[in-house]
Symmetry: C2
Subunit: 171 residues, 2 copies
DNA sequence: CGTTAAGTGGCATGACATGCCAAAAGAATC
DNA sequence: GATTCTTTTGGCATGTCATGCCACTTAACG
């Protein structure tokens, strides 16, 4: 049981230590992850050596999970974003688990959360068009067992997309 | 009116041309945006020169919008993610516009969409904890004029977060 | 076939990442 | 408050990489 201490450590003790340099690094890399180390160092007011050391540490600590290119969905032919509310059947214990496993394997689902409120799960699904969504819904989603209800909310306009996380609360 | 042609061009003619190399580049940079050009080139089976040229082209075309570090929300003390359904008042024409402008300026709102369905807008809000959300809700969101209803759905568990966009439909 | 256009590969140079060590800054102890 | 210990920084050296240029290959078209 004591082994759970380490796995819960992150929740118990969220920020090990973040000084102003770390916060600036995170802020800069959220905006442009391809900054060279020397430019990043200049921007945060530190020389390249310690700057790089800090970045590596943040990566090792898991604070930085990875780096990803942000693509224009329309440009690559993924014009339709749908937010799907999913309810699973209350009875079967394993409904939620099988649903989670299924969802994780679907590339069209780019985010998935267990949520409070009317629905159980909230999925963000990305497909080329309505026809593709129809196919996804009828041939993929609806075939997952244990689903009691699905509600599709189509994104008509995107105001903001995966904006940078606010870092103002750190100091 | 003809000037609208260019602004609509992307929707009319989504993918200008994507061969296998481009798709592999986008795929690789979605997974690891900090890949060096030589490693990227090796991975996609091309020499560094044309590989870099393709990446720059994809950036200029706007296919690649940017690069960003993915941070661990818990690690930086942002333990609470809330999906907020917002309805604006039907009467005032400008309700939606003022709401959009307000939302764009809020760093806690990391994504915002105009959606079909029961709500008008779907926001993703990130805050340290419940107390911070209470403050955000009462002192920020509820003070935006023209809002008729707000429903907060708390993320209890995150199965997948901003996963890579599926590129399988390109050829 | 010859011509042209587009894309590729290799090379050279300048910039950069990265590991090491001495110096500086800060914390703790007496 | 001086000393010691710890931590972090800055500079340097080396090997790797980005980047622009040019010759070569390939494919399409007349």
């Amino acid at each position: 049981m004591s082994c759970h201490l380490t796995s819960n450590f992150k929740q118990i003790m969220p920020e090990h230590s973040f000084d102003g340099f770390d916060r600036k690094i995170l802020d800069a890399l959220q905006t442009d992850a391809r900054l060279s180390n020397v430019e990043l160092a200049e921007r945060i007011g530190l020389s390249p050596s310690p700057c790089l050391r800090r970045v590596k540490l943040l990566e090792e600590r898991g604070v930085i999970e990875g780096y990803q290119a942000r693509l224009d969905r329309d440009a690559i032919g993924l014009g339709l974003t749908v937010f799907v509310d999913v309810k699973v059947e209350r009875h079967s214990e394993s409904s939620a688990e099988t649903f989670k496993a299924a969802v994780l394997s679907l590339p069209e689902v780019i985010s998935a959360h267990l949520v409070s409120g009317a629905a159980d799960f909230l999925l963000q699904v990305v497909v080329p068009d309505l026809k593709a969504y129809e196919r996804f819904l009828t041939q993929v989603l609806l075939k997952i067992p244990g689903i009691s209800d699905i509600r599709s909310n189509f994104a008509i306009q995107t105001l903001k997309q995966q904006g940078a996380l606010p870092l103002g609360h750190l100091r």
